[in-house]
Amino acid sequence: MNWKRMSATIALIFGAMAFTPLFVGGADHLMHILIMCLIWAVVASCWDLIMGFAGIFSFGQVAFFVIGAYASAIFSIRFGIDPVFAMPMAGMVSAALGVLVGLPCLRLKGAYVALVTFAVHMILEPFLKSGMGRAMGTGGSRGILTIPPMELFGITFSADNKIAVFYAALVLAVVCSVIIMLVIRSFWGTAFLAIKDSEDFASSLGVSAFKYKLAVFALTSFLTGLAGGFYGHYVGMLSTRMLGIDLFVMLMIMLVIGGIGQFPGAILGAIMTVAINESLAPLGSYRPLILGAMVVVLVLLLPDGIIGLLRKFAPGKTEGGQTVAVESGIQ
């Protein structure tokens, strides 16, 4: 996908989203769904950047999201830090942990990276519930119940004021998308493409795979942690239930629907997945069952996601199929 198309798609999606409060501003639940769409769009885009473009099989994105949410809540509750500052600080904590995890595992190959990052996800819940976690203020299995909302320019961004939260989330999503887009189009993006095509050849040309991978690990952990902090201050309470496998799989569906390595696709995927998930809510305990089946079916049927499907019907004017394939990093 070329630069123009990418920015146009992003502008179109977020532009359309910006007007939705005009129509559904009164409906509290719908506003909540829209806010969650934006937050998950950030997380899914970060995951796409790290997995689709950098080629790192990180399975720890939900863990970094939860780490960010808890860190920001703890900073603001225990140390009385203003949430506006606590959120980027939580992002830093996530980024630091991301680097810590990244250091040993980025030298490893595909499945190992998935293994280590998913292990981080798996041990996070027992850690948050353990005595050590409780001493840090995670509240054990009860979770954190009273997180102060963010306040800026005299506006309180709490669950009672969803329209304000929505626009704050929109700003966050736009900023993150622009950052991700810049990374993809920068020297980094080219380096990743080179590394993915042939790591040996790229490194013989002086492209340090390790350095770039660590940098993108830190960046995505930061943005994901920031989004987690935002989520915590918005919802006002946190528990380890977020670490359940269904949320993880839901994020994966976003990526599958959007297409791995098809950047603005992840945003579309997030919006569609949240909508599908909400429409499945009446099914109760059958919902995770259907989500699981959806992954299996979608991975088989939508290899390039919705963006790949769109491209089939509306190919770009100046680029043939080959250039598109090379640019998006899919051979």
Binding site: A111, A119, V256, Y286, L289, V299, L300, P303, Q331
Partner: protein, 290 residues
């Protein structure tokens, strides 16, 4: 001192089953580079199959009958799972991550399927053998001995098949060089599916063996997935002997950490071992591949 002996026996028993399951995991990754996230759900599948046969259908003939009936079932399940959802992905360059995703989806599907069919309550199975054997001042449960003997037999049988039979040689050939194996006429795709089936049998048998000591629960497989991973990474991907050593070392570690510090610390200890291994010796104790 005597309680240490009990802890030691528990580490030895669990370690032997972990070894069986880790060998299954390393087999599939070593041969076809597919990483199976649903491995833990296959573990629960073994337990549930045994429960259905013994408690629900009231099958007589004990565990021998259960094994005779469930091994072909597990084998077929694994074989067709590979054929249906893993094999079609292989054509693409990003198939490795797609396999991880699709098996993770399958795991969610299966776990929640168990919950819908069998309910969230844990199921228990009768012990394989009653009684205990006296060793000096203490006793070893016959059940533990049976579990140990059966899993070690399983691993040895598998090793024998791999080293001495035509199909075993075909599997090794595909693992070493898939393209070359295909040139000399080995049906590569069928070998991929067969290894997937064999690994399903191994983890399912592990599920049956451990179900009588612990319980079968819908989400119980995740622990097993993590443990099999850590053992595989610690022992080295693709090395059966490394996996065997690693399983016993980590089985002991688990038993003693659980005894001294409590069960909550077992996962942290395993994670610590994993990170240390990968930082110092990424290929594991005796790894052959990456």
């Amino acid at each position: 001192m005597l309680e240490y002996f009990d802890v030691f026996i528990s580490g030895l028993t669990n370690g032997s089953v972990y070894a069986l399951m880790a060998v299954g995991l390393t087999l599939v990754y070593g041969v076809s580079r597919a990483f199976n996230f649903a491995y833990g759900s296959f573990f629960s599948l073994g337990g549930y199959i045994a429960w259905v046969f013994m408690m629900f259908l009231g099958l007589r003939g004990g565990y021998i009958m259960v094994f005779i009936l469930s091994i072909p079932l597990l084998m077929g399940f694994g074989y067709f799972t590979e054929k249906l959802i893993v094999a079609p992905l292989r054509k693409r360059s990003d198939w490795e991550v797609k396999v991880m995703m699709i098996t993770l989806g399958l795991a969610l599907f299966m776990d929640n399927g168990y919950q819908v069919i069998f309910g969230p309550r844990m199921k228990s199975l009768p012990p394989m053998m009653e009684g205990a054997m006296a060793v000096g001042d203490t006793f070893i449960a016959n059940q533990d001995i049976m579990i140990f003997v059966l899993s070690i037999t399983g691993i040895l049988a598998f090793r024998w098949v791999l080293n001495n039979t035509r199909i075993g040689m075909a599997v090794r050939a595909v693992a070493q060089n898939p393209a070359g194996a295909q040139i000399v006429g080995i049906p590569k795709d069928r070998i991929f599916a067969a290894t997937f089936g064999i690994s399903t049998v191994m983890v399912g048998a592990g599920g049956i063996l451990l179900a009588q000591k612990y319980f079968v629960s819908p989400m119980g497989g995740w622990d097993i997935l993590v443990k099999s991973w850590v053992i595989t990474a610690f022992g080295g991907m693709g090395s059966i002997r490394g996996g065997l050593y690693a399983a016993f070392i980590l089985g002991m570690l688990e038993a003693f950490v659980g005894y001294w510090f409590g069960l909550n610390w077992v996962l942290f200890a395993l994670f610590g071992v994993l990170l240390t291994t990968l930082a110092i010796r990424p290929q594991g104790l005796m790894g052959k591949w990456g």
